[in-house]
C-alpha cells in the first residue's frame, strides 16, 4: 500500500501551543485516513489537541540552489538584530 499511497506531512498543536508544529510524515490513502494514522502515530501520549495533515506534494519548499540568493545576504546585516544596538542608559531591560 505504501508505494501507492500518497505521503502526508503531519502538524500538531499542543495543549498550550498556539501554532501547529511539524512532527513528521506518513503514508495514507486519503486525508481522512491520514488524520486517523496521525492520531495513532503522533498523539498516543497526549502530545496534541489538534492535527493538520497536508499532502507533501502540496508543500512548496525552497531549494538548495536558492541558498545564495535567499539566505546569504542576511549574514552581513547585523543591524537587523536588536542586539546590534547599544541601549541608552535609561533602558534597563529589553
Amino acid at each position: 500500500m505504501s508505494e501507492l499511497s500518497p505521503l502526508f506531512e503531519v502538524f500538531l498543536r499542543g495543549r498550550r501551543g498556539l501554532d501547529h508544529i511539524h512532527v513528521g510524515s506518513l503514508h495514507a490513502q486519503d486525508a481522512g485516513q491520514a488524520l486517523e494514522y496521525a492520531r495513532d502515530t503522533y498523539i498516543r501520549r497526549s502530545e496534541g489537541v489538534s492535527i493538520w495533515v497536508v499532502e507533501s506534494k502540496d508543500i512548496h519548499a525552497s531549494q538548495e540552489s536558492d541558498v545564495a540568493s535567499f539566505y546569504d545576504p542576511m549574514d552581513d546585516k547585523p543591524y537587523r538584530h536588536a542586539t546590534h544596538y547599544t541601549l541608552p542608559d535609561g533602558v534597563d531591560n529589553m
Binding site: S2, S5, Q33, E36, Y37
Partner: protein, 253 residues
Amino acid sequence: MGDKKLDDQIAEYALRLGDDALVFGQRLCEWCADAPTLEEDIAISNVGLDYLGRARMALQYAGKTLGRTEDELAFLRDSGEFRNLLLVELPRGDFAFSMVRQYLLDEFELLFFTQLCGSKDDTLGAIAAKTVKEVRYHQRRSANWMQRLGLGTQESQARTQAAIDQLWGYMPELFEMDELETSLLQAGIAVDRLELHSKWLNTVTAQLASANLQIPQIDWQVVGGRKGVHTEHLGHMLGEMQFLQRAYPGLQW
C-alpha cells in the same frame, strides 16, 4: 453491600468482559511488526492496547471478589476457565478477516457499552464510560476499512466477503443471555444483549451493503465461550501469552 451472591455474579460478569478484552487484545497485538504498513501496524497495536487497558480494569475488579490478582487471572488460568466469546479467540486470519471481526465487534460494543454506562454498579459503569470513547474511535476506523476493502479491488472485496461469511456464525453468541446475565439485568447491572440485536443488525447490514458486502444466509452457529467451552485456538494462544509466567513462575519486570 454484603450481598455475597450478587458480588459473585458481578465478578463473573466482569470476568467475562475482562476475558473478551484480554483475548482480543492479544489477537490484535499479534499484528505488531506484521501489519500491511508501518502506519497500520501502529494503529492496530494501539487498538490492541486499548483492549489490554480495558482487560486490566475488568480483571482487577473481578479479582477483588475472586481473591486473585489481574496477573493471576490472565496468566495462570487454563482455557477451560476463560469466559470470553469464541469470536475473539479465533486466529487473526488475513487483514480482511481481522478488520471484519473488528468492525462487527465495534458496532456491538458501541451499543453494549453505551448501555452499560447506566449500570447500577458504579465500577462497571465507570469502565463502560471510558470504554465507549475508545470504541467510538475503533468503530470509525473499522467502518472506514469496510469501505476501503469492500470497494477496493476485486480481491479485497472477495476476501472481506469471505471473512463475513466465516464469522457470521459466531455472531449469535454476542446476543446470548444466560441465567447469570438475566439475573444481573433484573438488578439493573447488566446489559440486555437481546435488545441490542435488531439495531446492530440494521447498522451492520446498511454499512456493509454500502461497501458492496452482503450479510450471508447461513444456518450454523457456535456458542460456548461463556461456559469455558472453547475452540482449539484458545489453548494455542494462551500457550504463547502465558509462556513466561508458566516457565518462570512469579517472574517480574
